[in-house]
């Protein structure tokens, strides 16, 4: 019997790493790990481990094309993602230092944080974020978003709320329309690398719930980032999104605790 999620999950209702469908992996995080930078963080989601450091807001580099024109109205966010050669199972030797995956993560993070942060407070400046992936075990983008948020909070850069990312997938290929009578597929929260390679998944990031109306607890989650690279039948999207957004909510509470715990010290 092949040991993969799509065959074992319907039998056991447990995933390969023993989680149920709605369980996050263990999240451990620290803030201010690197005193040399303006803000820094360490975040581990299961076996995905990320170090993030933020420099700035600092004056944009001279001769930088973005520093003069685009930086006029607000700070420019620069993101640099480095996936260590030893991060995944097979060691990679790369000449350039950046590959397609890290480039995509960097550009997604850049556009997410560029529009998220209060950059208008820092005209003509640059906020540079450096993300180092020490160990890659799925949900890289989501973990990077969370690590960046912690580092930016540590750097004291104003933002409307915490940006928290999470992934969600389906426990099968989900390529045919969903049958409400015979629905055997479960959504999976926080996918790991084997699940990511096998199953369709999406990454979603939300900002702090924004209360609407007069009711104090009437929360409205705001999706700030949503990416999906795999194919899935559109009838499953809503379920996956709902699970992902709920995961973001759980992660926000964890990050809240990390920030509060580190400020107390």
């Amino acid at each position: 019997m092949p040991l993969d999620t799509s065959t074992t999950y319907p039998l056991t209702k447990l995933r390969l790493d023993g989680r149920r469908w709605n369980e996050l992996r263990l999240i451990q995080a620290q803030i201010s790990t690197n005193p040399a930078s303006s803000g820094s963080s360490y975040l581990a989601m299961g076996n995905t481990t990320i170090l993030c450091s933020v420099h700035g807001p600092a004056e944009g580099r001279r001769g930088d094309a973005t520093g003069g024109s685009a930086g006029g109205s607000g700070a420019v966010v620069e993101v640099d993602v480095n996936i260590a050669g030893f991060a995944s199972v097979d060691r990679k030797r790369r000449a350039g230092g950046s590959d397609r995956q890290s480039g995509r993560i960097a550009s997604t993070l850049r556009s997410a944080f560029q529009s998220h942060l209060h950059t208008y407070l820092y005209p003509h400046s640059t906020i540079s974020i450096h993300v180092s992936v020490l160990s890659a075990d799925g949900s890289l983008l989501a973990a990077a978003v969370n690590a960046c948020t912690l580092a930016l909070v540590d750097a004291g850069i104003p933002m409307p709320g915490l940006l928290c990312g999470c992934t969600s997938g389906m426990s099968g290929s989900a390529s045919t329309p969903r049958d409400p009578l015979n629905d055997f597929l479960d959504p999976l929260l926080d996918v790991s690398l084997p699940e990511e390679q096998e199953l369709p998944f999406l990454t979603v990031a939300t900002t702090t719930s924004i209360p609407t109306g007069a009711d104090e607890d009437d929360d409205d989650m705001k999706v700030a980032m949503l990416t999906m690279d795999s194919k899935v039948h559109h009838t499953y999207i809503e379920t996956m999104l709902a699970v992902g957004v709920d995961g973001c909510k759980q992660i926000r509470e964890i990050l809240d605790g990390v920030i509060k715990g580190s400020s107390r010290r």
Partner: protein
């Protein structure tokens, strides 16, 4: 709103309605509520009767020395020197290079504004701490120039910032010499490498200088200093002595 404020805010945390609070530093307004923008302790400054009607809510990055959030007492134990140069701060700087359009100086001592006003008061001179004295006594001596100068904050005095009158007639060589100690105020934080300093005030300019012969000179007018041994006068932009 009756609910009490959190002692520690997280970005995105709602602090109160705009109707009762004004948004201070570290907060922003969204959907007519004040939210925290940064993580840190929350302070409420009560309304001053004349200037504002609402209490200002502030999120700071570091805890204030006064732990009581309702008092607005200014922190009294501010260091008097060795702070970062800020705009309007009075600084003492040593001239390291004189060029045609500007003089390069390295900042030795920064007096912040409250300390500077005291320092300008003759009853309490600026040298009430030994640190400044020790720096300055070694400073005006040309032999003492060390590489430590380069580690200090660098600043520029541009030609047009030397004095307030006849700006276009300024000749930098007749205003400063390398090794002079200059009192100036910061006009701009400048760029990555230099602060900008002005001496365009009567009480700003060269305060200590040595003559070509190497003797400490005393000021005789606003643009002249004299060597007590040889009697030779040299031109400087002299600060008014107290």
């Amino acid at each position: 709103m009756a609910s009490s404020l959190p002692s520690l805010a997280i970005p995105g945390q709602r602090l109160g309605p705009v109707a009762t609070y004004a948004a201070g530093p570290g907060t922003h307004v969204h959907h007519s509520h004040v939210y925290a923008s940064i993580a840190g302790p929350v302070f409420v400054d009560p309304a001053q009767a004349k200037t504002q009607t609402k209490s200002t809510i502030t999120v700071s990055r570091t805890p204030r020395p006064a732990a009581n959030p309702t008092t607005t007492a200014a922190p009294s134990s501010k260091p008097k020197y060795n702070t970062l140069p800020a705009v309007d701060a009075v600084v003492l700087a040593r001239v390291t290079r004189v060029q045609k359009r500007q003089a390069t100086v390295s900042i030795l001592v920064v007096l912040d504004e409250s300390a500077a006003s005291k320092a300008l008061n003759p009853t309490q001179p600026a040298s009430d701490n030994d640190n400044i004295e020790s720096i300055l006594s070694s400073a005006a001596n040309p032999e003492n120039h060390s590489s430590a100068d380069e580690l200090r904050f660098q600043a520029l005095i541009r030609k047009e910032d030397v004095r307030a009158v006849e700006k276009d007639r300024v000749v930098m060589d007749e205003m400063f010499r390398v090794g002079d100690i200059v009192r100036g105020t910061v006009i701009s934080l400048g760029d990555q490498s230099f602060y900008y300093i002005t001496t365009a005030r009567n009480d700003l300019g060269v305060v200590m200088a040595r003559s070509e012969a190497g003797n400490m000179m005393f000021p005789v007018s606003w643009k002249e200093m004299r060597d007590p041994v040889t009697g030779v006068a040299e031109q400087r932009k002299v600060a008014r002595p107290f």
